[in-house]
Amino acid sequence: MKIQVCFFSVVRDIVGTDARQLSLPDGSTAAVVLETLGADHPRLLEWKHSIRFAVNQTYAPAETVLNEGDEVALIPPTSGG
């Protein structure tokens, strides 16, 4: 299945792009997105414990099973305000 992944802030700087499409096995979880990208961008794994996932613009646990066409975002610690 195809998943759209969005990057922001420090994560975007590491990955080097705003957004990317990933092809993942059916039944993959949000956690798999981070592992997959971590293989290409090992610095991403340093953020593993502070990144939250959003699926279709809503926070979702790492175990969330993804569906074709989902928009996944890797959310580093926010600093608005």
């Binding site: 420090v10 959003a54 975002a73 959310i75 580093p76 600093s79 608005g80």
Partner: protein, 140 residues
């Protein structure tokens, strides 16, 4: 009313949006760019956001505040892009029957906004360094 804007925030417009004849109290929080951070000089801040999600999360925390403190009106406006020292990056205005509710609702909103809303700031220091806030990684 929640909004992301790219120009100076109109504070008076946010206040007038929450005015209500049944309200006896309005509290307004304004976050401004400070000229120092952990003892270092700050030139300006630059905010970016996952906008579609940020608006959803802002709506959610506004709903929660409205219900919890029986707020009459709520306005949350966050600025994106570059915000110079002294300028406002965020304005939160709430109205309520009594002042305790207005203060507590407003405080909840800014605390939750900082924790939950996908907005990030880059700090431009006067020594030329540029960092994502909290990343401890200089990026320029």
């Amino acid at each position: 009313m929640v909004e992301l804007v790219r120009t100076e925030i109109d504070i008076l417009s946010a206040v007038s949006k929450v005015g209500d004849p049944s309200a006896g109290a309005i509290d307004v929080f304004i976050g401004t760019t400070r000229n120092t951070h952990k003892g270092r000089g700050v030139e300006l801040l630059e905010y970016e956001s996952y906008e579609s999600m940020a608006l959803k999360v802002m709506e959610k925390i506004v709903d929660e505040a409205r219900r919890t403190w029986n707020l009459k009106g709520v306005a949350v406006v966050h600025r994106l892009g570059k915000v110079r020292v002294g300028e406002a990056s965020v304005v939160i205005a709430v109205s309520a029957m009594h002042r305790a509710e207005a203060f507590e609702g407003c405080r909840f909103l800014i605390d939750q906004l900082k924790k939950e809303v996908p907005i990030w700031k880059k700090e431009y220091f006067t020594d030329g360094h540029v960092e994502w806030s909290g990343s401890d990684v200089a990026i320029g």
